[in-house]
Structure formats: structure tokens, C-alpha cells
């Protein structure tokens, strides 16, 4: 009897499991030929494949997978270009890497799961899918690495709390203006992965932060009744007005995504350019969409449109959508005719341009990106510089410093415009191999070397809590006023009233008026002295609360040392050099220490107003700290340590000083680009051959200067021709020849006229002879 019950129970479980298995790919709907997009009035489903009832308490966020799956095969879509970074075997043309930017440690490290020269695989750095998603999920489409299989979830990750970052179908296909990329990025930062798509689409309002929840929390635990302020569990409040009585929601779906959806992750613009001055791509101006050329079917294998893509991915009609495919036509690798003029593309004649240019230059070399200049132009891209995310916090970063156009030969040996940047990172050398180190490892080893501003911010924070202070605390140093900013860092503004040589002083700033924190007073006047001493006492009491203070705060004025002993002001003779105006010191073991140590002071002054975040002195100290750590751990496997920036490798010499070397790992990382496309009238060469072929032309003789977070003059400078693999002297000579080219043309023209006329004459004579009009002579 027991056996029968067991069998029945097992059969029931199997039956229930079978019905719960997600739908098979057989449901895929083929196009019936109609050019309309079906109205997407469908129920939302959660990650358990259950219809969402928005009026229910604590509904789950919608799942793209289960909401779209009934009609669109999610498993097929997952193989698409945007989601297959770890599964694709086709490398294709190299693309823009993800860049791990950590300004504090001076790290701008290119990462990608797709193999490419100079780009590091996240696995090699010990980055798990969880780490990678946290770092870059802000500009990821979901799916792929952000939606790992259970077997790929590492123990230290928090997928069970945050949920998986499913493919965000609406991220591209939502035609509603409510779709917010910023919201997506914020939810990812809060580790609200499973809620991100709901919040970004505007279908509901998401509150709470997974990042503040314990690792044991589960989405089925629901909200935390004991904490409604800090560790608030994420929840969705759906906009009920969007649903009908059958709990169906009307999706405003764009079969062809709007450009703005692509540009959320694929924007690029010159760093110094004003928005109003930005010209859109000539194709966009002509009315084409990004997806007019970059097409895909349900597989989401996108046409990238580069020459030779047909060989990399034979399944795509890629060659139809290259520049030449639309504008010139030709033949595909499958020997099929491609007609020019697709979507009204004009067919260029390229008058006067020798054939060699078409053999050795890609179309984009002349038609894309900014015109080459003496120095490659700096550009910011969405993914590298974290653009397009708006809110209270500043998301965009200056680094990496990406430069364009740099002309490098592609797989077809054609010069193609590339973007590049010089990676910067800390690393250790193991044998011949350089292995990058994680920023957190460096921060831990470097201690306060990389945070010199803390010496100032701690004091300013302590003074901020002094109620008697009229205004906000500030430090005047080296001709600048330093104040606390909202992020706890330092903001600097000029203070022209004081020359750079003058000593620093602490001040209070009120309505742009600067007054000394401890003003000068006359100690011989009892009334004034008493008032001043009371003020000094209050300042010293406030400074007692300075975080990680190296000693007791004291004030020295003339030869008197003021300090607080057991809550009372104590005055004693100061045996050091008398100070005037009053100065603050730290007193430790009977010795006075400067309030801002020399190293911190110099570093702050050097980096103030500069884009860079590191000085050579800091690099030297960090390398020494790393070396010390290595010796302490007695590890023979690690080190020596190096820092890479601006195309150079920095390391400690035998004399423990900073030395610089060239190294292949310090070389630039480059990837080709194709937009913005300029019209023919603005193409390179529109002014004639001398756009490129002249001595000193920017095309051949422009420079690419190494740059990075390290403030140094020791950077690598390379010429444009070195990237092309061309000889500079030859192109200088060839360029020079174009100065006499007009004369040569005239010479050839006269020769053609003379020779031509004589031949015509001979022809006439022969004709005359044949017709008898001219008699033979002896």
C-alpha cells in the first residue's frame, strides 16, 4: 500500500514538474508578411511564470523572460551579440572593451570576455560574474554574464538576494518615453537586479536596496517589518492605471528600437564639444535608424557592418550592409550580387581618387570620426566614461582618456579609424607575465598614501561641527581655498588675495568672505586676549573630535602654546620658533607636528585643478608599500610590482627610486569605430590630395600622446604613421612631392597636347595618302 502511495506521489510530482517546464521553442511565431507590429496587450509575468496582479500586496517585479517567452524564444535570443560574450565562438572585429575605472588607485583597465589584444579577461583578474555585473551592469543589456546558470554562481556572490539581471527587452524595444536608462543604472548599483527592468520601464516604482540586505535574505521573505529606513527590502508599486481588468498591460513596443535606446550605451562625443554643436551621423540626418543597417532577426545576432563580417558570421547578410554594400554594391562572399543604392544610398563616383586608396583604406578612414589633427582628439563614450546616467550623483568620469581617430590596419590590411586609450593599472610581474592587481588590493596596501586629502577633510569635518563657527570651515593653501564637498572630498577655488608662497591657514567662509579661523590678537590686552583664548578653546575642542588625529590639537601664537588639559585651556611657553599669526599643530610625545604633513600638502597642491589623480611620489610610496607587504608575507610568488600609465611602466630601481621603462603591456588598447559618418563634402580629401599628402599632414604626422591618471611627463608619444606601420621619411618625401605636383600636371598636359597633335597630323597624312589626297614624296 505504501509503495502505491509513493508511486502516485512520484507520478504527481513528475506531472506537476512537466507542466511547470517553460515553453519550448516550437512556439516561435514566424512573420506572416504583415508589416504592422502586433499590439502587445499582454499579462506581465514574474520570475515564477505567474501572472502579476498589480493590486496584490508585495507583487514581484516582472520577468522579461516569462513575459515575452510565450511568443519570443528567450533561449534563442540569449545567443545574440549583446548577450553571448562568454558563449560565442566567433570573435569578429574587436569592439570597445569594458573599462574598470578606479580613480583613487589610478586604474583604467580594459576588460572583455571576448579575446582581443591588450584586453584582459575578467576571469584572469579573479572577477566573478557577480563582480562584473556590479561593475558594468549599469550599461549592460542584461542576460549573458549577468544571468548566470546556477552552477556559475560563486559562493561570495549575492545572486539570491539581488536576483539575476535578465535580458532587459524593454531596454531596447520600449517605445515609451518613460524608459529610463538612469533608473536601470541606479537599480543595478543598489543590487536590485531583478527589479531593474521594472523600474527602468516605468511600469512600477521600485523602493529599497538589496545591497543593504543580509546575504540570507530571499525575495520570498518579503519586506522587513523591523527596518523601514535602512535595510529596506526592494518592492514594486505598479502603476495600476496601465493594467486592464484582466491584468493585461499595453506595452508600447518598438519592433525597431529607437536610436535613443542604442545611444544609451553607444554614445560617443568629443570631450570638449558643446551639445548644441554636435552633428548627428549623416545617416541619422537622412532619416535612417541605427537598426536600419544594424539589423537582426530573432537570434539577435546583429549586423555590425564592417568589411569582412560575412566571413566571420556567414549566417548574417552582413555584406549587404557594409558601406560598400549599400553605396557601391558588388558581390558577396557567397558570390551573390549586391545592388547599390539600398534605402536610397547615393552611389559615389570618387572622382580623382586613385584606386590604391580603395585597396588600402576603409571607407570610414575618410568618412568617419573627426578630421585628423596634430593631436588625436579626446572622446568620451557611454560605456567607458559612464555617460547618460543622471541624478544627484555624478556618474560620468573623465577617465579613461579615449583618443580618436588613430588609423590602424584592420584584418583586411586596410587603414581603419580606431579609438584608443592607454591602460593604467597596478600589476605584478610573474616571470615574463604581467598580472594586473585589483584596485582594492592596492588600496589596502597603500593605506593613506592614495588619500592625501583626508588630512584636510578630517579637520574640516571636525570644524564643521563647531557651532560657533561663522560660515563653513575652509583651508587656504597655495593660493586656493579648499572646502568640503557633498561627497566628503575637497573642492578647490582660487584665492587670489594670497600668494602661493604664503603659509596655509584655516579659515571660515561666509558669503565669499574669508576670515581666519583664529584671528591675530594682542595678548597684552587682557579683554581681547580672554576673548581670543575662549575662541581658541572652542576650536581646539572641536578639533579633538578629528577622525584618526595623529595627536592632540594645539595652537601656537608667538611663543605661547595653547592646549586643552582636562577641559581647561592650558597656556605654556612654546620652545620652538614663535608663530604669528596663530597656527595649529598636532602635539604628540611632546613634539609638534604640522597639521597637514608635507607629503599630503604637496600632493594636494600638485593634483588640485589637474585631471590626474596620482603623483609620481605616490606611485613610488605605493610600490614601496607593496614591496614591504611582499617581504612581510615572505611570498616568493609575487612581485616585483609595477604601475602602468601613459604607455610607460613604472617600477622601483635597485636604489629604490622610481624608474620608467617601455613595456608591451603598457601599450594602447584600440578598437575600430565607424560613426559619426561625415558626408562626402566633409570627407578627408575633399580639399584635394594635400589633406593627407603633404609634409607635416595630421593624417600621417599627427601625434598620440600617452595619458593616464598619473601626473607625469614621462609618457609615450607615438606618431600616427607608426600606428599605420608606415615609414615617416618616405611619407614626408611623398608629401613634399605634392608641392610640385601641379607643375608636373602641366608638364604632362603640354606633352599630351604636343604628342597628340603630332599623332593626329600623322593620322591625317596617312589618311591623305590612302585617299590619294597627298602624293608620295621621294
Amino acid at each position: 500500500m505504501k509503495q502505491r502511495i509513493l508511486i502516485f506521489a512520484l507520478a504527481a510530482i513528475v506531472l506537476v514538474a512537466a507542466t511547470a517546464i517553460p515553453s519550448s521553442p516550437q512556439k516561435k511565431i514566424a512573420w506572416d508578411g504583415s508589416r504592422i507590429t502586433p499590439v502587445h496587450q499582454i499579462p506581465l509575468k514574474d520570475e515564477l511564470n505567474q501572472v502579476i496582479v498589480p493590486a496584490e500586496s508585495y507583487p514581484l517585479p516582472f520577468s522579461s523572460r516569462y513575459t515575452c517567452e510565450p511568443c519570443h524564444d528567450y533561449r534563442v535570443i540569449r545567443q545574440g551579440l549583446h548577450f553571448n560574450e562568454t558563449t560565442s565562438t566567433s570573435t569578429g572585429r574587436s569592439g570597445e572593451p569594458w573599462v574598470w575605472v578606479d580613480e583613487k588607485t589610478g586604474t583604467t583597465l580594459p576588460l572583455s570576455y571576448r579575446n582581443s589584444k591588450g584586453i584582459w579577461n575578467p576571469k584572469d583578474l579573479g572577477l566573478t560574474p557577480w563582480d562584473f555585473t556590479l561593475l558594468f551592469g549599469r550599461h549592460m543589456t542584461g542576460g549573458g554574464i549577468a544571468e548566470p546558470d546556477d552552477k556559475d554562481m560563486t559562493p561570495e556572490s549575492r545572486w539570491n538576494v539581488a536576483g539575476k539581471l535578465e535580458i532587459n527587452c524593454l531596454g531596447c524595444h520600449n517605445a515609451s518615453q518613460v524608459q529610463s536608462h538612469s533608473e536601470w543604472a541606479k537599480q543595478v548599483l543598489r543590487e536590485n537586479f531583478r527589479w531593474a527592468a521594472t523600474a527602468a520601464s516605468g511600469l512600477g516604482e521600485v523602493g529599497g536596496m538589496s545591497s543593504r540586505l543580509k546575504g540570507t535574505w530571499d525575495v520570498f521573505d518579503g519586506p522587513n517589518p523591523d527596518d523601514s529606513e535602512w535595510a529596506v527590502a526592494p518592492s514594486v508599486l505598479y502603476n495600476k492605471n496601465l493594467f486592464d481588468s484582466k491584468h493585461r498591460l499595453m506595452f508600447d513596443i518598438a519592433y525597431k528600437p529607437e536610436d535613443s535606446r542604442c545611444l544609451a550605451c553607444h554614445s560617443a562625443a568629443l570631450a570638449e564639444m558643446k551639445k548644441f554643436n554636435f552633428d548627428e551621423d549623416v545617416h541619422s540626418a537622412a532619416g535612417l535608424k541605427c537598426v536600419s543597417c544594424h539589423r537582426n532577426d530573432i537570434t539577435h545576432a546583429m549586423v555590425r557592418g564592417y568589411e569582412g563580417e560575412g566571413k566571420d558570421n556567414a549566417a548574417l547578410p552582413s555584406e549587404d550592409f557594409t558601406c560598400a554594400g549599400c553605396h557601391l554594391g558588388g558581390k558577396s562572399t557567397k558570390d551573390q550580387a549586391i545592388l547599390p543604392g539600398r534605402l536610397g544610398a547615393p552611389c559615389p563616383l570618387h572622382k580623382g581618387i586613385p584606386k590604391v586608396h580603395f585597396d588600402r583604406l576603409s571607407c570610414t578612414a575618410c568618412h568617419s570620426g573627426p578630421m585628423p589633427a596634430k593631436e588625436a582628439a579626446r572622446v568620451r563614450t557611454s560605456r567607458a566614461n559612464r555617460l547618460g546616467i543622471y541624478g544627484v550623483a555624478q556618474w560620468a568620469t573623465g577617465f579613461p582618456s579615449i583618443l580618436e581617430p588613430v588609423y590602424i590596419r584592420d584584418k583586411n590590411k586596410k587603414l581603419t579609424p580606431h579609438r584608443l586609450f592607454w591602460p593604467s593599472f597596478w600589476a605584478e610581474i610573474k616571470g615574463e607575465k604581467i598580472s594586473p592587481l585589483k584596485p582594492e588590493f592596492i588600496s589596502a596596501a597603500a593605506g593613506e598614501i592614495l588619500t592625501p586629502e583626508k588630512a584636510v577633510t578630517r579637520v574640516l569635518t571636525a570644524l564643521f561641527n563647531m557651532p560657533e563657527l561663522e560660515g563653513t570651515p575652509a583651508l587656504v593653501m597655495g593660493g586656493k581655498i579648499y572646502e568640503l564637498n557633498v561627497d566628503g572630498g575637497l573642492d578647490a577655488s582660487p584665492y587670489p588675495a594670497l600668494s602661493k608662497e604664503k603659509a596655509l591657514f584655516w579659515a571660515a567662509k561666509k558669503d565669499s568672505q574669508i576670515t581666519a579661523l583664529i584671528p591675530v590678537f594682542n595678548p597684552d590686552l587682557p579683554e581681547a586676549a580672554a576673548e581670543a583664548e575662549t575662541h581658541i578653546q572652542k576650536v581646539l575642542e572641536a578639533l579633538k573630535n578629528t577622525e584618526a588625529a595623529p595627536g592632540q590639537p594645539v595652537c601656537v601664537y608667538k611663543n605661547v602654546l595653547y592646549r586643552i588639559v582636562e577641559s581647561y585651556m592650558d597656556k605654556s611657553e612654546f620652545k620652538g620658533e614663535p608663530a604669528s599669526p596663530p597656527q595649529l599643530f598636532w602635539l604628540k610625545d611632546g613634539k609638534t607636528l604640522p597639521f597637514i604633513p608635507d607629503f599630503e600638502r604637496k600632493t594636494i597642491e600638485e593634483l588640485t585643478g589637474a585631471e590626474q589623480t596620482l603623483t609620481e611620489a605616490q606611485v613610488e610610496l605605493v610600490l614601496k608599500a607593496l614591496e614591504k607587504k611582499r617581504q612581510e608575507t615572505k611570498s616568493n610568488e609575487t612581485g616585483p610590482f609595477v604601475y602602468i600609465s601613459g604607455g610607460k611602466l613604472f617600477r622601483l630601481s635597485d636604489k629604490q627610486t622610481l624608474e620608467v621603462k617601455n613595456n608591451e603591456a603598457a601599450g594602447p588598447v584600440a578598437w575600430p569605430f565607424a560613426h559619426q559618418v561625415r558626408p562626402a563634402k566633409q570627407a578627408l580629401g575633399t580639399n584635394g590630395c594635400t589633406d593627407c599628402h603633404r609634409a607635416g599632414s595630421s593624417f600621417f604626422f599627427g601625434r598620440v600622446t600617452g595619458s593616464g591618471p598619473l601626473k607625469t611627463n614621462r609618457v609615450l608619444v607615438r606618431s600616427a604613421s607608426s600606428f599605420m606601420g608606415l615609414t615617416r621619411p618616405y611619407h614626408f618625401l611623398f608629401g613634399l612631392s605634392f608641392t610640385v605636383r601641379p607643375v608636373l600636371k602641366w608638364i604632362l598636359f603640354i606633352a599630351v597636347v604636343v604628342v597628340g597633335m603630332m599623332l593626329l597630323l600623322v593620322l591625317l597624312i596617312v589618311l591623305g595618302k590612302l585617299t590619294g589626297l597627298i602624293e608620295k614624296r621621294r
Partner: protein
């Protein structure tokens, strides 16, 4: 590829034809069976003999002094030198380099092209009179000994060669100029490259036959 095949075949054919004409005109040594290849090998070896070079130099000097007196010899030298460089650089790269011509040779090819154009125009001005087509021809006895030119007099042949060379030169200069001006479309330019190459081949072949008829000692026609 077609051009390479045509070039190689036509140059080899011309060499065979010209040498065979001479071989056929040469009286056979008594008691020996005529052997073309032995004769050719001996001829090639003979080219590098001091005596041959001396004789050749003398013949050339005589020829130049006859036709290009005084300063005008420099025009001939300019034409000859520029044509030799253009032909050598052009055909070497066209036949052996898949990339085509590039680098310093290309730079020189373009520059020397100017010299070739000027010297060709001046040569025509100087020498056109000697090759005027309305002149009475010599007797047919001074003709080639082998078909297809068996009945053409050497004088007429030289005239044809001279004007054919001039016509090929015109095409070479015109196509070079055409590539430098922003007038012709990409397809036209591609065609001009082909015209340039085939004109160069015609110029090379005509110059070779002309050289043969002009300088080398001629045997009596059979």
C-alpha cells in the same frame, strides 16, 4: 593576372621571334647541324664579352651621332633612360608584386614620368620628319626574313614602330595625367590603369623591335 600572362608570353614570344629571325638568317657552319638553343646560349654569353660591349657602344655612338647631333643627344638619352626606368619599375611590380607599385620606386616612377613625357614630345618634334608617312619606301629587299613581316621594308617597319611607340607614349602620359585630376570616376580610373599597363607593354614591344632593327647588325634576308 591576365595582364601578367599576356606580358610574360608576349615578351618571351618577341625574344624568340627576333632571335629566331637572326638564327634563320645566319649561314650554317659547314658539317654542323643548326641548333637554335646552342646558338642562343652562345649569343647570350657573347653579349657580356668586352669586345661585344665595345662594338655595341661604337654602334650606338654612331647611331646617336647620325640621328641626334649635338645637344639633341641628351633628349635621346633622357627618353631612353626614363623609358628604361619606367618599364623596369612598372613591369617588375606589375608582374611580381601583388600589391602593385609602392614606396620610393612609385615616387620615382611618377617623377621620371614627367621626364619621359617631355623627352618624348621633344623627340617627336626633332625626329617626326624622318618618319613622315608620306615618304617613298625603300626596296622590299631590306625586309625581315620571317613572317608576318616578310614583305615589309625595314624603313616602313621603323616608321610604324616609331609612331606606335609615340601613340603608346601618349596613352601612358594621358592616363597618368587622368589619374591625377579629380575628373574621372573610380571605374574610369580602374580602366585607365589597364590602359596604362597595356600601353606600357606595347611601348616595350615596339621599342624592343625598333632597337633590334636600328642598332643590331642585320643579316641579309633570305
Amino acid at each position: 593576372m591576365v595582364f601578367i600572362i599576356i606580358t610574360v608570353l608576349s615578351v618571351l614570344g618577341l625574344v624568340f621571334w627576333l632571335t629566331n629571325v637572326r638564327f634563320a638568317a645566319k649561314p650554317p657552319a659547314p658539317g654542323k647541324k643548326p641548333d637554335y638553343f646552342s646558338w642562343l646560349w652562345a649569343g647570350i654569353r657573347g653579349l657580356f664579352k668586352k669586345e661585344t660591349l665595345k662594338k655595341g657602344r661604337k654602334a650606338l655612338d654612331t647611331w646617336i651621332n647620325s640621328y641626334y647631333p649635338g645637344w639633341t643627344k641628351w633628349i635621346f638619352w633622357a627618353l631612353a633612360a626614363s623609358f628604361v626606368y619606367q618599364a623596369a619599375s612598372g613591369f617588375l611590380f606589375a608582374v611580381f608584386s601583388p600589391r602593385g607599385m609602392f614606396g620610393i620606386p612609385l615616387l620615382l616612377h611618377v617623377s621620371v614620368g614627367g621626364l619621359f613625357a617631355v623627352s618624348l614630345a621633344m623627340t617627336l618634334i626633332l625626329r617626326a620628319r624622318a618618319y613622315r608617312p608620306d615618304q617613298e619606301e625603300e626596296a622590299a629587299t631590306q625586309s625581315f626574313a620571317r613572317p608576318p613581316l616578310k614583305n615589309i621594308s625595314k624603313s616602313l617597319l621603323r616608321k610604324i614602330l616609331f609612331w606606335l611607340f609615340a601613340a603608346a607614349g601618349l596613352c601612358l602620359i594621358a592616363t597618368a595625367l587622368g589619374s591625377m585630376v579629380p575628373v574621372f570616376s573610380f571605374e574610369t580610373q580602374q580602366s585607365m590603369i589597364d590602359v596604362h599597363r597595356y600601353s606600357a607593354l606595347i611601348a616595350l614591344l615596339t621599342a624592343s623591335i625598333f632597337l633590334d632593327t636600328a642598332f643590331l647588325p642585320q643579316s641579309q634576308a633570305k
